[in-house]
């Protein structure tokens, strides 16, 4: 069976990053559900796939990878000529895409992840911490607002992995975290989210996730 296997679950943010990449590129895949209720991710067999006990992990023939951003980069590169172009046509364009992917990991996710954890999953969350994180997110989104005023997408005129990598986190912001107003109050960020979330691959992912 030569179809790439993704170990994880469809509702979780990091697996969604990889699934979205597969869908944009038209790559066939199989989702192997990791049963968190029986602590399958703690078992020795799974820890061999992902030593930190996180999802996703992939297996593609002999190749095994974890870290959703690394997996996405690999497939976007390997299938450069198939489906949506996610990395740009030149090395310089790719560098700009990579730049904004780094921004997602180092500025956006570092704030959004604890925000989502606290607001959505922690019953009596630290109010002061949440307020502090919201202030930080405001500053990040101001930068995005500026960038997106000058560019249709983060890395330029075309949708790329730099935009895609934000989508799972953005979905949480717009939904369970109840922070949609931070997006809708920014004309360009709002436009960006609306355009990205109208993409067929995203809609397919949302259908699979069945929220």
């Amino acid at each position: 069976n030569m179809v790439v296997k993704l170990f994880g679950q469809i509702k979780a943010g990091n697996p969604q990053r990889v699934l979205l990449c597969f869908l944009e590129k038209g790559i066939e895949f199989e989702v192997i559900h990791v049963d968190l209720n029986t602590f399958e991710q703690k078992k020795p067999e799974y820890l061999l796939r992902q030593p930190f006990g996180q999802v996703p992990a992939i297996e593609d023939g002999d190749l095994k990878l974890f870290e959703s951003r690394a997996i996405s980069r690999y497939y976007a590169t390997k299938y450069a000529d198939q489906g949506t172009d996610l990395l740009g046509k030149t090395l310089e364009q790719r560098a700009i895409v990579e730049q904004w992917m780094e921004v997602e990991a180092n500025y956006f996710n570092v704030v959004v992840l604890p925000l989502v954890i606290n607001i959505v999953f922690t019953p009596k969350f630290d109010v002061a911490l949440v307020e502090e994180l919201k202030v930080k997110l405001d500053k990040v989104l101001d930068v995005y607002e500026n960038q997106l005023a000058m560019n249709r997408y983060l890395a330029g005129a075309e949708f790329s992995l730099a935009d895609l990598t934000h989508m799972p986190g953005m979905r949480y912001i717009m939904n369970e975290a109840g922070l949609g107003s931070m997006i809708t109050s920014r004309e360009n960020v709002n436009r960006w989210w609306n355009e990205m979330s109208a993409r067929p691959a995203w809609k397919k992912l949302m259908e699979m996730a069945a929220y």
């Binding site: 509702k11 049963d35 996180q54 604890p114 922690t122």
Partner: protein
């Protein structure tokens, strides 16, 4: 004491349309009945329904009380990853959007410690007593230690559990400085427990009550981390932890996490 980064575990959230029906006499997993909510032929109409997930400390608190009382109940999973607890219909059960919520016939309750007190009062004749028998003075002692758990122990201990256990589940890293600071506060509480347990077999009196039970979920998580040393290094506390965590009703709650 410096915290170590706990090996990450994932929060076991799984969308499930089936509700899990539990009966007090069942001892093995193979006896558990799974009924589909949409099926017209539901096997047993348990009057008590708990909306929550087995991983949640507050849900576990309620489940512990139900098992101690040998009450039949239905556990209805709440899909937290999908934000179900922050939306209708769950908000009609708890407008604060927190699990668990409990329904007993027409009665809807939330706040786990209010739920356990209801269970102890309403079903006082069944199973474990859970409240000190006797006069008002003895009952008041139970209330003292119920409040101690809620106001003194839990605010600190649950933050340690969040740092050491739950953060790792979401790919966040433990903050060692925060853990050290919190443990410094917890030891002061545990020293008081040590003194109390030198005079009393359980916290409120010489019988197991809700005051002890309320501690179980967070202690359960902390005993799986380096923070267990705080409990194990205090002989009376250590003995008390062993006693309360060895209770068969508690074992059933822990078992739910494995299914």
């Amino acid at each position: 004491m410096m915290g170590t980064i706990l090996q990450s575990r994932l929060l076991p959230i799984k969308l499930s349309h089936s509700s899990l029906l539990f009966s007090p006499s069942q001892h093995s997993r193979s006896n558990l009945k799974f009924t589909s909510k949409s099926s017209p032929s539901t096997i047993t109409m348990a009057s008590i329904k708990v909306h929550g997930v087995p991983m949640s400390t507050a849900t576990m608190r309620v489940l512990a009380a139900l098992y101690e009382k040998e009450l039949e109940f239905e556990l209805i999973p709440v899909d937290m990853r999908a934000g179900a607890h922050k939306q209708e219909p769950f908000l009609s059960l708890n407008p604060f959007g927190q699990i668990p919520a409990l329904q007993d016939g027409d009665l809807t309750l939330f706040e786990s410690r209010a739920i356990t007190e209801y269970i102890a009062d309403e079903y006082s004749e069944k199973g474990e007593k859970l409240m000190c028998p006797g006069c008002n003075k003895v009952k008041a002692l139970t209330k003292v230690w119920l409040n101690v758990e809620g106001q003194q122990f839990d605010p600190i201990a649950s933050k340690i559990a969040f740092e050491r256990v739950f953060k790792g589940m979401f790919g966040m890293t433990t903050d060692p400085a925060a853990v050290q600071d919190l443990e410094g506060k917890l030891v002061r509480v545990l020293d008081i427990y040590e003194a109390r347990l030198s005079k009393s077999e359980f916290l409120a009196c010489d019988c197991f009550t809700l005051a002890d039970l309320h501690h179980l979920p967070v202690i359960h998580y902390l005993m799986g981390t380096d923070s267990k040393a705080l409990f194990e290094s205090r002989p009376k506390v250590c003995e008390w932890v062993k006693k309360i965590t060895a209770r068969p009703a508690w074992a059933k709650v822990v078992d739910l996490q494995k299914q």
